[in-house]
Structures are given as C-alpha cells and as structure tokens.
Symmetry: C2
Subunit: 348 residues, 2 copies
C-alpha cells in the first residue's frame, strides 16, 4: 500500500483552515465538497458529481463544466497554463460525451506580470482553442495587487452539445464491465514536478496535455455500451476510479501489470516516493464499458494517436462495493484508496 | 473634468507589466482587450463586446457570461463575495435579456483560509442563487499556497435563455434615444472603500449589490423598444456609456442634475477626490430606449423596488460619435471620458 494512503484524515469539521490537500482532487476535496459545498447548493444535477452538468435548455442537451487553472510553473514541457486551460475543460465536456463548442475565459492576473508572458499565455490559449474547434466567446479580466496572486490564474468554463439518447455517468458502472485506460499514466504530474524542482531526466518527461474529444468521438461511434468516461487529472487514476466505484456502488479489481507507466515516470516516482496511480494526467481517459465490447473499443482507441497505448486494466465487480483493489506485479492484492492529503499541489 | 481623466496612458505595447488599472474596467482594460485578448480569440460573438455572448445551440438561444470576483474585503455592508458573485453574473445575463438559469462556481482558495469564513461565503452564495432562482450545477475548487492568493477568489459563469426575437446590444443605440438610469450611483464602490479604509459615515453607505433580472423582466414586458442594457459595475456609469457610444458610433449628452447620487456618497467622493460617475455599482442598470417609450419605461421601473429612483439622465445624439458629454449643474459642458488608470482596485 502506498505511503500516501497511510495518513489518517480527521473530519473536515475538526479542521479550522483550508489546506493545500483540499484542492488535491482526493479525499480532502471530497470532504470539502460533501461538508461545505453540497449542503449550500443542493440540486439533482450537482449531486450526480459528474465532471460536467448536462442541462436541458430549450430543446437542447447542454454540457456545462468549469475549471480554474493555477498550475505552477506557467510554462512546462508539453504545454503551458493557456493550452492546459483549454484541454482541461474540453476534456471535461468530452467525458460527458459532449461535442465541445464554446469557452468562456477569465483571467486573474497579479499586478506586475510581464506583458510578454501574458501575451504568450493568451496566444497559446487561443491556438489550443482553435485546434479544438471551440470558440472563446466571452471573458473577464481581474488584476490583483502584487503578492495577492501568483502570475496568472485562468478559469475556463465550457459549453458543449450532448447527442440525444447519450447518457454517460459515474453512477452507471456495473459488475462485469471492463475498465479501460487510454495510455501511460503520470506524465503530466511528473513533467510539472520536474520543471518546478529542476529535476533532470535522461529523456525528458513531457506533459500529456491534449484534447480528448476526437478520441471520445471515435469511441462513442464504436460502441453504445460505454457507461462512463473520466479523465484522471488531480488525484490520478486511483481517485477517478474510487469516485466511480463509490457512485456506482461497485467494486473494482485492477491488474497492475497492465497499467502503462513510462520508464522515466516510474523512475521519478520511485525516487520521489510517489505512486503513479495518484499522479495527475491531462490527456488520458478511463472508460467503463460492457465487457463484450471491450476488445473492440480498445482496438478503436489504439487506432487514434491519443489512444495508441490503450488497454484493459481491470474489471468492475460486485464484491466490496466502493472499494478499488489491485493485483500487484508481485501477485499480492492491495487496496487502491483515494489520494489523501496532497501529493503535488498546483498541478493544474 | 475629473482629475481621474487627466492621466495620459501610453499604448499598451509600450508597457511591459500588467498594472492594477488593467483590471479597472476603464481605458486600460479596453486596451488589454484590444491588444492582447481580441487578436488571440477572433470571432464575431466576442467582437460584439457585450457583457454576455448569445449563442444558438441546438434550437435555443443561450446567454453565456463569466466573471471572477476578487473583492477585498470579503464581507462588506450590503453583501459579501459570495452574494456578489451571484448578483454580478445574474446581472450580466439579465443585461442580455436572458432569464438566468444556471451557474458554475469555481473557487481559488488561499491555503490557511479559515473554514468558517469559507462556509459563510459558500452559504451566502447558495442563498443568493436560490433567491435568484438559479441553480449552481457544476463547480471546481483549487487551493494555492499561502501568499499566492488572497483568501478566496470566486469565478461564476452563467447560462440563461434569451427569448426568441429579443436582441439587445451595445451596438444598437440610435440618435434620439433616451438614456435611463435605474437609481443612485456609487453606493457599491464607496461601501467597499469605506470598509477597506475604515472610513465612517454618519449614516453608513451600503452596497447596492442586487439581482436585476426581475426588474429587467418588467422592463422588457413594458416596451419592445429597448436597444441595450448595461450594469455599470467596474469603471462606473461613465465607462459603460463610453462603451455603448463607441460600439454604436453615437454621441451622448448627459444632464448632471438628473443623476441621483446619495448625499453620503457625494460627500465621500468629494472628500476622496473621486467622481461618482466612475465609481462601481452592483445593483443598477443603464437602459437605452427609443425616446417615445422612455417615460413609460421609467414609470414601470419606478414601480419595482430596485428601480424606485429610475430616471432619464440623457439623450443619444449624432454629433461627436464615440463621445459622452455632460451638461453640469454649473451650466457648463464637459467630456465624460472612460476611466483611466484605476480608481478603486478589487471592487468586485
């Protein structure tokens, strides 16, 4: 069991301050959601706890999702806060099966930010949006005094159109379903960490930040049997699968040997005492699909550049609802818990 | 002419750093928009520069608007950052004639924020949303390390439904139209400033923060001749009117005596060297309407609690397109320019 899961968090009510871990996408984030946010905003859509709301407005099914980006540093191998702010929100729309259409973009800039840096970030954001075929149609800019921010934070909120009849949700996994992962894990988190801490590798680790909507489009055309899609960002694969297991009241058994991790990422994780299952990704997805369509789906994914290394990594089961376990390469079985505390703050 | 308009800004390209004034809603904000943002995101919807995008998705006309809130202090007479984050976005939807339906809410929290403060802000936001009849359907929380934020910043992004056939835009003012203001100006800005600086008044100044969608609903039912609505927030009445004048290629003549300013606000402005025309409001609106319907519209507004002090404050004209001028109480005429620099940072 990872050392990261050995902390013993106290109930949020007993904490009197917000900690970095409350933004980790793991257990503390879930507690904050459950104890502070959900009681204030009760409604069915929010209670579904999917990565996007799917709303019926007029005659259309609209996917709606928001994310703020506070990644540090602003530029990193494979991307920057501008492209990440597009990919992150486009992916949250795509995970609901929506065709991404429009973005709002809101900047919170710290006084004194170099105009040249801002221009590079904005240009990158614009290029990423264009490459994804989404339009930035509305925006906002606030400036805070020096020392009250950190360069630039970006919020993007996305709108997409969900095809009639399509309903993906973390509450739909069923015993017997296959768990599919689109490629190697941990690249984004390790790329950020290496850049931030000045760690050098023989072959550099590059963020996997990428828009997944076209891969998802291919997948949805290949089979109607996809129950749920998730992009394992903050909190990593472990936290995403734990959320699905909890919301669907099912168990999951993973096969460690089948989970692709690049050698450099594995090496960095070993050196730093991190578990790749908890490290953030920004261009990967998890799919829960009816087992009978799993092989076909993997083949379709492998035909797409962003799914080349796709494979089946586990199975949904009935035993131990809410728990994710893993058969390790050593032949033992361990519990894969949600991230507890914060492994890598400001990763996105 | 106000001292605030006497600065002589250099072109944005010549500045190498972002300044507080770039977030003021005035001239510097407009420059940043024109020189950094618009070139990166060119599309027709954004180019209209309205407070909200109106999008056709499926068969529906959807209004979409975003705002980040960085107000300091978090709590002030008449509201807090939570209620303000709802009212601000609801009002931007309402200014497009949309019925506000849904909000996304994204928090950027500084490590160490008291959980009790967060809970109060979130509860206030939830109550304000409920009072407005809008649902918070999706959200995000990020935590930044101590010293990289300032308590809490909130982004809200709103979705609303625009009735078929309704088209309000800052580009539609025509010579002869009446300019109508819904009530006294400067209350929000002075309330924030007083709270921040510890200034005391005999009768306290309270923010006008309020949701305007029901007032707008009454107005739209009273006349089909409304060209444009704007809520004069950052940059105040002067900046909003200058934007409309520029986008509609018209001039405007205001009558100073008809612009309501509370005695306490006027006194505070005189003491502090501020011009109420540049001070932010969070519960007021400007309407440009065909002159023949102006009196009827004012009467309907006065019948609503948030429009009790509504009055006609000026007329759109053909002379000097792009310029706003004002007949002062002294009988002279002066130019009312956009805000230049930043009068009151972090006002919303």
């Amino acid at each position: 069991m990872s050392v990261l899961t050995l902390n013993c968090p106290v109930p949020v009510a007993a904490r009197d301050q917000v900690m970095l871990g409350h933004g980790s996408g793991g257990k503390l984030s879930a507690e904050l959601m459950r104890e502070i946010f959900l009681p204030a905003f009760t409604n069915e859509t929010l209670a579904r706890m999917d990565d996007q709301a799917v709303l019926r407005i007029g005659g259309s099914r609209i996917a709606f999702t928001t994310d703020s980006f506070v990644v540090k540093p602003l530029f990193f191998p494979g991307g920057d806060i501008g492209s990440l702010a597009v990919h992150g929100t486009v992916n949250d729309l795509a995970m609901g099966g929506a065709k991404p259409l429009f973005l709002s973009v809101a900047f919170i800039i710290e006084e004194g930010l170099s105009m040249e840096i801002l221009q590079r970030v904005v240009a990158s954001l614009g290029r990423a949006a264009e490459a994804c075929g989404v339009q930035v149609v509305t925006g906002d800019t606030k400036v805070v005094d020096k020392g009250s921010g950190d360069g630039v934070f970006i919020n993007t909120t996305g709108l997409g159109l969900v095809p009639d009849g399509l309903f993906l949700s973390a509450s739909q996994a069923r015993a017997g379903d296959a768990i599919i992962l689109s490629g190697s894990i941990g690249d984004h988190g390790i790329a950020i960490l290496a850049e931030r801490e000045g760690i050098e590798f023989e072959s550099p680790v590059v963020s996997d930040s990428a828009p997944l909507h076209e891969l998802v489009d291919d997948m949805l055309r290949a089979t109607p049997a996809i129950r749920c899609l998730r992009d394992p960002t903050r909190g990593g694969v472990s936290s995403s699968l734990n959320e699905i297991a909890a919301q669907s009241h099912v168990g999951m058994l993973l096969d460690e040997a089948s989970i692709p991790v690049r050698d450099e990422v594995r090496g960095a994780c070993e050196m730093l005492g991190l578990d790749p299952l908890y490290v953030a990704n920004e261009g990967k997805l998890l799919a829960i699909v009816d087992s009978s369509d799993a092989d076909r789906l993997v083949a379709v994914m492998q035909a797409h550049p962003l799914g080349r290394d796709a494979r089946r990594i586990g199975t949904v089961n009935k035993s131990d609802p809410g728990w994710v376990t893993m058969r390790t390469v050593l032949g033992t079985t361990r519990i894969v818990d949600m991230l507890s505390g914060d492994q890598l703050p400001r990763i996105c």
